[in-house]
Structures are given as C-alpha cells and as structure tokens.
C-alpha cells in the first residue's frame, strides 16, 4: 500500500499529522473543553446570548476536528430527538402550571407553547449541542496519548489517564472491528439501506453480537498484556516518558477561551455589566 503518510490515527479516525489542532499541546485541547464547559454551566438558563456564542464556538471547533460525516449525522440524529423530547417536555403541561408572567404563543389542550418554555428549550438545546460538539471536538482532535498527557499535566494520576486512554483505544479498535463485522454481514446478503426501521434495527443487532464477543475477548487479552508489562506493579513510582509544556501558540489560543469564561461569570453574577 502507499500513501496515507500525512495522517495519523486519532481516537475515532485519522487526523491530519500537521493540522492546526495537532500543533496544540494536549492540555490546551483539554483546557479548551473544560473552559467552554465551565462557561456554559455559568450562563445556562441565565444568558442565552452567551450560550449561543459558546454554541457557535463549539461548532467551529467541531468543524476543525474534521470528523467523519457519519458522526455528524449521528449527533444530529441523537440530539435532534433530544431537542424534540425537551420541547415536548416543556410544552405539554397542564394549563394550571403555566407561569403567570408567561406569554402563551400557542395552545391546544395540554400542549401550551409559552415564551418561557421556548427560551428554556433553547437553553437546553444549546447546552446539549454545545457539549456534544465540544466532546466530539476533543475526541476527534486527540490521540490516546494526548488524553493521558493532558490529564497528567493537571496532576491527575497516571492510572486514571491510562484508563481513559484505554477506553478510547478500545473504542477505536471497536470501530475497526465494526467495519470488518459489517463487511462480513454484507457478504451474507444484508443490505443496510433497505427495510423498515425495525428491520434495520434487527440488522444492527446482527453486527452487535460479534462485536460484543470480540470486545470481551480483547478485554481478556488486554488484561494479560497489561499485567505482563508491569502495569500492576506496586511500590514503584511510574515514569512519564513524554513531558508536556505549553508554548506561545497554546497561550494565544487559550486567551479567547478564558475571555469567554470571564464573560460567562460576569453574565451570571454581574448581569448588568454585559
């Protein structure tokens, strides 16, 4: 085979070896995620404008991660349902529960759409989508080593970092297995594009069975491999081979995210200052 030299394997796919995000130190990516997550928690149900800003930034970051299209579809599918569920939850209410200061925009029996409900739903949807996009940005732009090193930078025990790394590694391997199992099912005459929703679900379970068996077998092997390489050794201070430092680019990139956090805090505690 040839080619493929300008990419490297990330947690859920291939990353450009010299892409913008790959120039950043692992803790920077982790910090971006944490800063925006913290910022959104400050403005949730407080300031929709800042929450929308965070959502827009999350979408931009997500697009930088260049995840496979399938992932984008899955996010919209999963969170589209979630948004719909939230809308129904906040709008199907007994009339007696409508707040007195709420303006009723539309009503049919217990289905009552108020301005309050719409704003609340907007908050929930913005928050969930922002978090989803941020999490996918983190997963889609990092390697397993980034996760371990990033956590290590913040003095989180190496064991915890490794555990996260291994979970992501296993997830990555499962994606590879998924492709192979799916191909094996294709060779048995399965057509994933045809059939009703129930039939598609049944076909999907056909893939899940071998995947689960493979996952268990791999987990058993991994335990032996971990033990054989001293993972469980006691009374030894483990070494971290790769030392992580933040560079000028990292500080420059982090500045606007700190700014967003500060704006969010101000919006929460000093609303008049925004």
């Amino acid at each position: 085979m040839s080619g493929g030299g300008n990419v490297r394997r990330g947690l859920v796919g291939y990353l450009p070896a010299n892409g913008t995000l790959q120039q950043l130190s692992p803790p920077t990516k982790l910090l971006i995620f944490l800063l925006l997550a913290a910022a959104s928690s400050f403005v949730y149900l407080v300031n929709l404008y800042v929450l929308v800003l965070i959502f827009v930034v999350a979408v931009i970051l997500f697009s930088f991660a260049r995840l496979p299209r399938l992932w984008v579809r899955l996010v919209f599918l999963a969170f589209g349902f979630e948004a719909l569920g939230t809308f129904v939850t906040y709008t199907v209410i007994p009339p007696s529960s409508v707040p007195s200061d709420a303006e009723i925009l539309f009503s049919f029996s217990w289905f009552i759409v108020t301005d309050h409900a719409l704003i609340t739903v907007a908050h929930v949807v913005m928050l969930f989508f922002s978090m989803a996009f941020l999490a996918l940005f983190l997963i889609g732009s990092t390697t397993e080593r980034d996760i371990v090193e990033g956590l290590n930078f913040f003095h989180i025990p190496r064991t915890v970092g490794l555990m996260f790394g291994m979970i992501f590694r296993l997830a990555g391997i499962l994606f590879t297995d998924y492709d192979t199992v799916r191909e094996a099912q294709l060779s048995r005459g399965i057509d994933y594009r045809q059939g009703s929703f129930v039939e598609k679900l049944r076909k999907f379970f056909g893939v899940m069975v071998p995947l689960i068996v493979l996952a268990f077998r791999r987990a058993a092997f991994s335990i032996n491999a971990l033990d054989s390489r001293g993972y469980a050794i006691r009374n030894v201070k483990k070494t971290t081979f790769h030392q992580v430092r933040l560079h000028t680019l990292d500080y420059l990139v982090l500045t606007p995210f700190f700014a967003i956090l500060i704006v969010s805090i101000l919006a929460r505690y000093f609303p008049w200052s925004i």
């Binding site: 490297r8 590694r169 060779s187 048995r188 069975v209 491999a225 993972y231 469980a232």
Partner: protein
C-alpha cells in the same frame, strides 16, 4: 549454565476444562538456551508459555495447579505477574490484542514507564530497540496499521524494553508473509546471540525454526511426548506426524528415502538436503528423464468463459492509502484453485473484497457474471461470490450453528423449506451436523471456521474466497480445511485462497497470483510462478522448501524440474537416486 526455568511435576487445568491441560510436566531450561515447543492445537503449548510469567495461576484463579514452577529462582505461585515483567518478556499469539496504545513509541515505552525506569534510560532503550528491530521512523505510526512483520517486531520490542532474561514467543510468525517470517526469526536468533537471552518459542510450523533451537519439545494433551536436539527430534518423522506435527519438508522427503540414503542424518534445511541428495543422483537416469514428472502448463484448463473480470481497478482508503493500482484480472467459471499471495499490505484482501462488492472501486470496474459491482444488487452479488473472513468471530452472529448457516439464506428471502433443505445438506457435506444446535462461539476454531464456510456455501455461490483459513491451525487441522476446499473445488466451486502458507498454496492451488504494492506481479500456473524466485522475493515471498530444493538440485544437475509438494519430490527422487 544454571537452570533459569524449572517445572517440577507440574499439572494445570482451567476451571472450565475437565482434563489436565498440562499434565505432570518436568522441564529444565538453561540460561541462554533456545527452546522450541511444538505440538498440535490444544496440546498445552500456549498454556505452558503463560505459566512462565505467572499469568497462570494469577489471572486464572479458579484453575488447579499442582507441582512447582520456578523462573529465575522465583516461585511463580508466590510472585506477581507484574514482578515477572522484569524477568520474562511475553509476545502473545494474537499480536494485535496485546497492543495497549495507539503509537509504536507509546507501545514500546509502556513497560519501562510502569517499572519506573528513568526517562533517559527509556530513551536509550527506545533508540536501541527501534534500531535493532528496524522500526526507526515508525514512532508515531499506529501499531494496528503496520504490516504483519512490523507488528510482530513491535510486540517483540515492547517485550524487550524491560530487558527481560527470558523471551517467550507464542507463534510470533503465524500471520506474516514468508520473508517477514524469516526476518522475525533472524531477529530472535540475533537477540539470543547478542544478549544471551533465553528464548522459548512456541510454534507448530517447523520449516523455518528447526535449526534455530538448541532443543525441541513435543507436547500433546499436556504431556511431553518427545524431546531432543533438533536433528534427533525431527528425525522422528513418524512420531511427529502421528502426533499432529509436520516436520520440515526436506526432513520428510529424506525420511521417506532413508533406505536409499543409507540412513544418513536427517537434513533440516534446504542446503543440507541438497548436499545430501545431489551426490546420490544418477545422472544417466536424470538425462533420460529430463523433465521427470511435470510440465509447466496449467493443470486444469479454464473453461466456461470468465466469471469475474477486473479492469483497471483502483482503490483508495479514506486515510489516503492507495491499496490497488490499476489491477486487471480474470477468473474463469471453471479452472484451477487460485492462490492469492503477497506481503502483508500488498492489497490481497482489498482486491478480494471487490469480488463480491464489499468494497467498491475508486476507479475502474469489477464485473461478476455480467453484473457491475458498482451498481449491482447485493443479494445477486453474494450468490455469485462468497467471502469467508479470516477470523470466524467477525462473521458469526447467531446462537446456534443451524441459525448461523441459515442467516444468509433468510437475507436472500428463501422459504423456510428451502432454507432447511440447504442447511441440512451443507452441514452434512462439511460434517458438522452434530454441532447444529451448539452455540458457535463456544466451539473450537476449526469448527467455527467450518461453520462460516457452511454459511457461505449454503448461498451456493459460484466462487468462494477464503481468507487465511489455516492461520493458527496445526498441520492436521490445516489439512482437514484444505481437503474440504479441494472437495468443494472438485464439485465445481471456484476457490480463491488468500494465504501466507506457501506450502499449502503450492500443494493445492494450480494458479497463483502474486501481489505487491497494489499491483499484480505474477499470474500463472503455480509451478511456473514459484520458479520465478526474484519476483517472489519482490513480493516478500519465498517458495516452499521442496520447491527450493528441487530448483537447487535441477540447477546443479542441469535438468529441469520443480516439485510442489513433499510427495512430488519423493516420487521424483525415488527414481533418480541410485
């Protein structure tokens, strides 16, 4: 030299097994010794390996251990696996399953990091291992994306990074191309010579490892059946074959001709064989039979037109890897069994997955019995070309063998009566009717393999593509699978076999296609392709020992013959040796 490993009357059984997997084993291994452990599937070889670093009993707590094992003076029942990580380096049979990280460098430094080795020392060891194992420049590559030989070298490197006294390797070359195998074995030999490391190699394919070892053990049903220096050990051809181990091909030929060879010492390598045989050949007999038995034509002529045609086929994967580069190929409706050979990553599997539309061409086209795979209905395609995956666990999705075999037929929309009839026939044909109601995941790999072949066969395709069916199988099981495929071929099925096992390809396939870097390097009768040593070398392949031996003999004797199997070479030499 002192003993570094001792087994004193050791027996072991797993919680779920009734019989002892290792039974009353007594064994001593000296520091710096190279021990080869061989035996059929299920003989206890792998179990023996995992006892050396205390994985047994520590990770299998409900098993039963009797006797005492000491390794480097430590009792394995009283020392943790982690502590043994500094003494015993393990390379497991399933190479990918032991990778714990997503880059070569991380994989290599993982062990010393755990053991608290300083960063400077880790860097020194890393540089040493990368150079020693020819992995320089691969630091950031994912180990999962390397070639088979490179993966094995990463696994060996990861074990070496803790500077163990003993290196245990469980079938380290089972899934790699022939010359990759030679490279890995040379690396192991060098390690032993340069570091005086004790090597314990578990292997059931003996051709390339026979001379590397100081001593060889034969295990069967957990018992030590035979033990000795390689020449003495492999001289017991009958005993080995009786116990499911195939001795080196040249040893088998010499053993068969032992009466004519005055019971000379059994050779273990091609060179030794040629030196032994050449002086015994009667040139007069040779010249009267210039081409003793064979000709170079295709054993069975193609007929019935072309079933599959690939025209200028290109395939590029999402990461940009160009796996196929303009392949043109035809497979006739009837013709010899086809071997698809090539180095790991040469594009064999990618090509094969185009034959029933699992993969679509990036450029070019594939026509299967008049259907263009880019637009054809999947159900039509899978009834023309069946694909048996290498690992049966990727394919099995049902809770009984019967359901597994009927699964594809249900997808094709057959009636229940038709399904029952087809499943019954195919189970009988493959002799697995007795397993019909068994849970396939719990069956032996050989039976699981037959189950997935049955599930494809039931769909009655004209062509069956079988990907590495003999990997990890001992000589007996490999032969059972190949005889089954031969039987299918005799019934009119066209078989395309993807394999690294050159002995199997030579013996069973009349046509060989050699691939390298996404292109076809050679395509023709196996006897003719296997005589082109240079082309094979470019594809990281090496003809089987009997081919090399007959080539050497024919060049020395200025005659022209090439045997493809042990029996062919025996027949030729039977007539030529005085």
């Amino acid at each position: 030299m002192e003993d570094i490993v001792t087994f004193e009357d050791v027996s072991w059984k797993y919680e779920e097994t009734q019989d002892w997997v290792i039974s009353q084993l007594n064994l001593r291994v000296k520091q710096g010794e190279f021990l080869l452990v061989t035996g059929p599937n299920g003989s206890g070889k792998t179990t023996l390996g995992t006892m050396l670093n205390a994985l047994i009993p520590y990770n299998y707590r409900y098993g039963t251990l009797k006797g005492r094992i000491t390794v480097a003076g430590k009792d394995t029942a009283a020392t943790s696996v982690a502590e043994f990580s500094q003494i015993v380096g393990m390379v497991f049979q399933e190479v990918e399953a032991q990778f714990l990280t997503l880059s070569v460098e991380d994989e290599l430094v993982f062990g010393p990091e755990n053991l608290g080795v300083s960063r400077e020392e880790i860097q020194r060891r890393l540089d040493w291992v990368l150079k020693l194992l020819k992995l320089e420049g691969y630091n950031e590559k994912s180990p999962f994306e390397l070639s088979g030989g490179q993966k094995q070298r990463v696994a060996i490197g990861a074990a070496l990074m803790t500077l163990p006294k003993i290196l245990v390797l469980d079938e380290p070359t089972s899934d790699i191309d022939p010359l990759g195998k030679v490279e890995v074995l040379a690396t192991i030999r060098d390690l032993r010579e340069s570091l005086n490391m004790t090597i314990i190699l578990v292997e059931h394919l003996t051709d390339d490892v026979a001379l590397l070892a100081d001593r060889v053990l034969l295990l069967k049903d957990g018992r030590l059946i035979l033990e000795g220096a390689p020449r003495e050990f492999f001289g017991s051809v009958d005993t080995l074959k009786k116990n499911g181990v195939e001795p080196p091909q040249v040893s088998q030929v010499s053993f068969a001709l032992r009466n004519k060879l005055s019971n000379a010492a059994i050779p273990l390598t091609v060179d030794e064989f040629v030196q032994l045989i050449a002086p015994k050949i009667n040139l007069a007999k040779t010249s009267s039979k210039r081409q003793p038995t064979f000709d170079a034509s295709t054993p069975e002529q193609s007929e019935g037109g072309q079933l599959i045609e690939l025209k200028d086929l290109w395939h590029t994967y999402p990461d940009g890897t160009v796996a196929l580069k303009g392949v043109d190929l035809s497979i006739p409706r009837k013709g010899p069994m086809v071997a698809l050979l090539g180095q790991n990553g040469s594009g064999k599997t990618t090509l094969a997955k185009h034959l029933n539309g699992i993969l679509k061409p990036t450029k070019g086209c594939v026509n299967v019995d008049g259907l263009d795979t880019r637009s054809a209905n999947r159900k039509d395609l899978v009834q023309k070309v069946g694909y048996v995956f290498q690992n049966p666990d990727h394919q099995i999705a049902n809770n009984t063998v019967f359901k597994e075999v009927s699964y594809g037929l249900e997808n094709l929309g057959l009636s229940q009566d038709q399904i029952n009839e087809r499943v019954k026939n195919v189970l009988e044909f493959l002799d697995i009717t007795s397993y019909a109601n068994e849970q396939p995941f719990l069956l032996q790999k050989g039976i699981r393999q037959r189950t997935v072949i049955a599930s494809i066969l039931a769909m009655r395709p004209s062509v069956i593509v079988v990907d590495e069916p003999t990997t990890g199988q001992d000589a007996v099981n490999s032969r059972v699978i190949m005889e089954m495929l031969k039987g299918l071929h005799a019934q009119g099925y066209q078989i395309v076999l993807i394999t690294h096992n050159m002995n199997i390809a030579a013996e069973y396939c009349g046509r060989t296609i050699v691939m390298s870097e996404g292109r076809i390097l050679a395509d023709g009768p196996t006897r003719s392709v296997f005589s082109q040593a240079e082309i094979l070398k470019r594809a990281y392949l090496q003809p089987p020992p009997v081919c090399r031996a007959s080539q050497n003999l024919s060049s020395k004797l200025q005659t022209d013959f090439m045997a493809l199997s042990v029996s062919e070479l025996e027949n030729v030499l039977e007539n030529l040796i005085v």
